[in-house]
Amino acid sequence: MVFLQLFVNGLQLGAIYALTAVGFSLIFGSTKIFHVAHGSAFAISGYIYWWLASKLAVPWPVATLAAVVAAAVFGLFMERFIYRPIQRHEASFFTVFIAAFGVSLVIQNLIGTVAGRGMETVTTPLSRSIEIMDGLFVAPIAAISIVVAIVVFWALNYFLSRTHIGIAMRALSENPDLVRVFGLDPGRVAQWAFVIGSAVVVPGAIFTAMTAGLNPAIGTHVMLVSLAATIVGGIGSVRGAACGGLLLGLAENLAYWKLDPQWSEAVTFIVLFAFIVFRPSGFFGSPTAAK
């Protein structure tokens, strides 16, 4: 029964990780920018939701909308004011990485100074567990997060395969000129990638705020998981990133079966490392993507 409990918890966590990983993979896949400030989008939207819904008692749809806007604006800001100026003169991996890293540093500490360094949660009846079976406690939020994740993926899939901009985003990584053939501007498509990639983390951030809680360092943790999930799932595969996130969420929870809670981050690293050694291209990546 413990196993089943952990499995369900793992699915819930996996749903959250899958969402954030997909966001990162979408951005990296289409723009080739190693956006290590992605965790900050998570942190910002989570804290905005918490501040509005918990501290200011704003109704949750408004708070959610605000969180989405905040994440999208952050993504746009990074693309327009950080990455684009850098790409204009020296777009090496180095400069992009360090700049993104610097931003995440500033954001993390800004949040800590403004909102405090403790764990903050949003109390909601949704997080109260119900014993649905003997020894199995599931809160409504678990089911909600899994359903929302599935809906978001379905919507994203539709967007990427049926809309002009979505298809252009997939083309952007292979062949920027192809994007022009569609009558679109690669810069615009990149902006869309950042907006959508950042907005996609919001459900995960909100659910985390309601369950495990937020702290300023959550961005780093989310970043590690997104990176690991992208590699495990295969670079260039959004579907892979989702699977990778799910796998990592499950692994982290199932590890509690045998290990102490402090080892949860270790589990992420072990899974990542195993893939790097045995299957660098990940679940769905092409073998050349690993070179």
Binding site: F34, V36, I82, P85, I86, H89, E90, S92, F93, F94, T95, V96, F97, I98, A99, F101, G102, V103, S104, L105, V106, Q108, N109, L110, G112, T113, T220, M223, L224, L227, A228, I231, I235, D260, Q262, W263, E265, A266, T268, F269, I270, L272, F273, I276, V277, P280, A290, K291
Partner: protein, 297 residues
């Protein structure tokens, strides 16, 4: 006052070693590591155990730290460097997080969260170098030796190979260079020498615990390298000076709440990194992409 300055100088020296060794892979080979603090820690813990359990003197303790650090870096680098650079970043971040947990949980070896205390003062060839002034001399000597070794490496064919890889990996391959092996060697060299800083740190404080080897420390070392500039050997040293003097400077500003100084420090690093990357990617002391004439040291 004098003791304070000597203490600060020792800390600057230790951090300068960390910055210079990180720059070897970051600036000269283009490899990103978020785990440099871990090799610092491995050197520190190994030296502590060597001194406490085996009565080792400074040279033996340091050598032991270098070997263990090198071996563990090999375990990280061999798989992760076979593939693209982004993998190494992710793997190093993972190692940083994992190792902190190991440092905190492996009580029998690392003393757990409490750390190791009662480390005997450093002995060098039979002489006690625990005295602060002598220890400062030892630290600076180590820094000087490491700088000389780095200089020799950078000017050698190995150094050119690394710079070639940094400038264009594909062209380097096309000239017959075994890129994965070269990168791995660079990481091993960098991590082994970082362990020297760990050894100095252990004997200096007589007490170490995991708090000194967390992700924030890796970040601080990166900040030193970026701010000082990656293009020269001395850039990181200057970066270390600036970054370590920053908190002292900040305490003099009256309107800053003391509890926030750590945060503000990190925000300044972050801001510096962003602004430098946009306007002056080679740091304060390196050449900018628009100002040419300086060559490599």
């Amino acid at each position: 006052m004098v003791t304070y300055i000597i203490s600060l100088a020792i800390l600057i020296g230790i951090n300068a070693i960390l910055a210079v060794t990180l720059n070897f892979i970051l600036g000269y080979a283009g490899i990103f590591s978020l785990a440099h603090a871990i090799f610092f820690g491995i050197g520190a813990y190994t030296a502590a155990i060597a001194a406490m359990k085996f009565g080792a003197d400074f040279t033996v303790a340091t050598a032991a730290g270098m070997v263990i650090s090198g071996v563990i870096s090999l375990a990280l680098a061999l798989p992760a460097l076979r593939v693209r650079g982004e993998y190494f970043v992710a793997a190093s971040l993972g190692l940083q997080m994992l190792a902190v947990t190991v440092f905190s949980e492996w009580k029998s070896v690392t003393g757990g969260i409490g750390g190791l205390i009662g480390i005997p003062p450093a002995r060098l060839f039979g002489f006690d170098v625990g005295d602060p002034v002598l220890f400062l001399g030892l630290t600076l000597a180590c820094l000087a030796v490491i700088l000389l070794v780095m200089r020799a490496l950078v000017r050698s064919s190995f150094g050119r190979n690394l710079k070639a890889i940094r400038d264009d990996e594909t062209a380097a391959s096309a000239l017959g260079k075994n890129v994965a092996l070269l990168k791995t060697l660079a990481v091993v060299v960098s991590s082994s020498f970082a362990a020297v800083a760990g050894s100095l740190f252990t004997f200096y404080l007589s007490f170490i615990n995991v708090e000194s080897f967390v992700l924030e420390v890796s970040v601080q070392i990166i900040a030193m390298v970026i701010i000082g500039g990656t293009a020269t050997l001395l850039g990181p040293v200057i970066g270390a000076v600036i970054v370590l003097l920053l908190p002292a400077l900040l305490t003099y500003l009256p309107y800053l709440p003391p509890t926030e100084i750590g945060s503000i420090q990190q925000m300044i690093y972050g801001l510096a990194m962003v602004l430098l990357m946009i306007f002056r990617p080679s740091g304060l002391w390196g050449y900018g992409s628009d100002q040419q004439k300086r060559g490599e040291p």
